[in-house]
Amino acid sequence: MSAALGPERPQVVSHVQQALSYTVFDCKWVPRSARLLCLGSAARGTGIVQLYELHGARLELLREIEKPKPIKCGTFGATSLQQRYLATGDFDGNLNIWNLEAPEIPVYSVKGHKEIINSIDGVGGLGIGEGAPEIVTGSRDGTVKVWDPRQRDIPVANMEPVQGESKRDCWTVAFGNAYNQEERVVCAGYDNGDIKLFDLKTMSLRWETNIKNGVCSVEFDRKDINMNKLVATSLEGKFHVFDMRTQHPTKGFASVSEKAQKSTIWQVRHLPQNRDIFMTSGGSGSLHLWKYEYPAQRSKKDSEGCEMGVAGSVSLLQNVTLSTQPISSLDWSPDKKGLCVCGAFDQTVRVLIVTKLNKV
């Protein structure tokens, strides 16, 4: 299913490659700059944060910070543009917020979970979205917790298993629907294929489904608008795109699914400048660039007269194989369209440029 655009197809150009001496788990652009952060775990079992700056065709290391525990994930989503504090989750279940200018003592620190924090997301910062800045963390102990940096020690929301129920690992979390000060949802994906949508305004479970494969990554196409689309990627090379505008009382949200490759799809990231384009990264070291096309009518009535969503279609714009190891993390630059960074398990971080996105 590749779009027949011929020579006008977007090309993925590998701009810089940097070999690292540690395993990189997450890489993020520092907002409003040409700098990027790599978070990971050194061989000696400590956490590493490295700050690089893009200089022509190479990356220059500006800072290296070492922390006692390996770091799994990080986000800038909940800080203001002036502060640009980094929130990280580490292998021990600690959530920390760091000021990168003075990283010895965290600005905020809490032992949020009993086991590794697998995924973290932030909303309300960077001038995007409305409402209080909040951070959500999902952990292997089966709980999803939402934190407010102004409130110490106690999460503002805790999604935990019912008493006596055996827990499943939460592998991914994402914020969405934050279009005004009250509304917010958290989407969580678990290793048994469950996807759950929690509404933070009503503090209830809004929707859940099971996609038959462990869920590796979920992301809304935009955090700060009325929920539009949600992409969930899973093991076995599948991903699902849910149309989140229309919720049917029993059938939930309409979706279209695509099998991209044989290996796990580790990450999905939407292009900040165009919410219908997203990139998936795979366990075989490949990146696929997709475009979602809306159907003619986004909703229709079913036999009982209830509104039901209609899913559109997904087409592959480009794919490229960069590495033999899984590409575990991916981040688009919010400032420059087409610039992205990806980190793979072959201990390299690559800066890529995707061209011709204007013509898509």
Partner: protein, 421 residues
């Protein structure tokens, strides 16, 4: 005896001989004609015509035309001279024979040379074709590479431009920040003056960080003003979550569902089988008829060191339900302790049989079975079998250091015995 064709006629010029040979109704094909430098033969069984020529001819350029019931030869002479007759006059049998043989040999050599030459030309043609295609492909690749390079350079330039814009923006912001910080430093400076003798803050850069690390929230001052506009933190609440049930602790994969179902099914079946045809069972208490309870009892006795008792418990459990792999596994451990090595091997093997299909759920059990069987083999001095089992265990669980060490030891033992014998 062949029939000789003798009704040939011929004429000659200085450079060529024209020979006409009527065929008397026989059909001729090029294969029937054999010609070498000085010998010409046409053999169409039963007809035969041969001629030992007067002088050598250039047989590569000479031609033979077959048609109208006769063959017309055009033979080009090597040396232009007039021949007295077509064939050599005083040709005795032996000379003829040797001439014929020479002719045949020469013809063969020529044929060989021709094939060689053909091969060489063929190879050269192939090489040439290959090089040509390679050049074309190379050109194509270069074109694509150049296009990509151009894109890259264009994009790199744009990036540099954008980055410089960012830098300028940042500089502007940091100047602003410094301005703000100055305003904040003033009141702090006054406080410091009271306590220290230093009246001058030496370097703005260090003071900034020093202040920051001691105060910890310098720039939070500016934030406090903003906080008024943000809503208060949410009221803490908990949402209870139910998960789609799953027995295995590993992640769900569609491709493994069939295997996992099979394993679960087998386990369920095994638990339901109760061989209750033994009359002695009526004497036993209710709980003693439960294989699980017996298994627990056996485990307890093993822990306490009562290996014979444990074996008894497991035996009874097996009589009741012979499809539970764990019973065999644990009994194998008891037999190892009791040094009933053959029984230990039997039980481990039975356990492994029951642990098919191999799913991650019964990994631990399979590793144990392999290790126990391996130990039994080694104690029986059957080291190669033992090593096989240890390697199987390592394959399932490559990270277990003890198994690795033991496998190494066994390998050394094997090498040691092999060297001695």
């Amino acid at each position: 005896m062949p029939v000789w064709l003798r009704e040939h006629s011929w004429r000659q010029t200085a450079t060529a001989v024209y020979l006409s040979l009527p065929l008397r109704g026989a059909r001729a094909t090029p294969a029937n004609i054999f010609c070498s430098e000085q010998y010409l033969k046409v053999s169409i069984p039963p007809f035969l015509f041969e001629a030992v020529l007067y002088a050598p001819i250039d047989d590569t350029n000479s031609t033979a035309k077959i048609g109208n019931g006769n063959i017309f030869f055009t033979l080009y002479k090597k040396e232009p001279s007039m021949w007295d007759s077509l064939t050599l006059a005083n040709a005795d049998k032996e000379k003829l024979q040797s001439l014929r043989e020479n002719a045949v040999l020469k013809a063969q050599e020529k044929a060989k040379e021709e094939t060689e030459a053909k091969k060489i030309t063929k190879q050269e043609h192939k090489k040439y074709a290959l090089e040509a295609t390679m050049k074309v492909e190379e050109a194509e690749r270069k074109r694509i590479e150049d296009m990509k390079e151009k894109e890259r350079q264009k994009v790199t330039k744009e990036l540099e431009l954008w980055k410089n814009q960012q830098k300028d923006g940042d500089k502007y912001k940091s100047i602003q920040k410094k301005g703000e910080l100055h305003k904040e430093i003033e009141p702090l400076k006054e406080r410091k003056n009271e306590t220290t003798t230093k009246t001058r803050i030496p370097n703005e850069g260090t003071s900034k960080t020093r202040l920051k690390s001691t105060k910890g929230s310098c720039s939070m001052f500016s934030q406090n003003l903003k906080e008024e506009q943000l809503p208060a933190p949410r009221a803490a609440a908990t949402i209870k979550v139910n998960f789609t049930p799953r027995v295995f602790p590993t992640a769900l994969r569609e491709s493994r569902i069939a295997e996992e179902e099979e394993w679960l099914h087998k386990q369920a079946e095994a638990r339901r089988i109760i061989n209750s045809d033994l009359s002695e069972l009526e004497d036993l208490k209710e709980e003693e008829k439960n294989p699980d309870w017996l298994k627990d009892k056996g485990n307890k006795m093993f822990a306490m060191g009562d290996y014979l008792g444990a074996v008894n418990a497991y035996n009874l459990a097996v009589r009741l339900n012979n499809a539970l792999p764990l019973l065999y596994l644990n009994r194998a451990a008891c037999h190892l302790k009791l040094r009933n090595l053959h029984k230990a091997i039997e039980d481990s093997s039975k356990a492994l049989e029951l642990l098919i299909p191999p799913v991650p759920d019964n990994e631990k059990a399979r590793v144990k079975a392999h290790v126990r069987r391996g130990t039994a083999f080694c104690q029986l001095e059957l080291y190669t079998e033992g090593l096989r089992d240890y390697e199987a265990a390592l394959k399932i669980d490559p990270r277990n250091k003890n198994i690795e060490k033991d496998a190494e030891k066994i390998r050394h033992l094997i090498q040691g015995t092999m060297q001695c014998s």
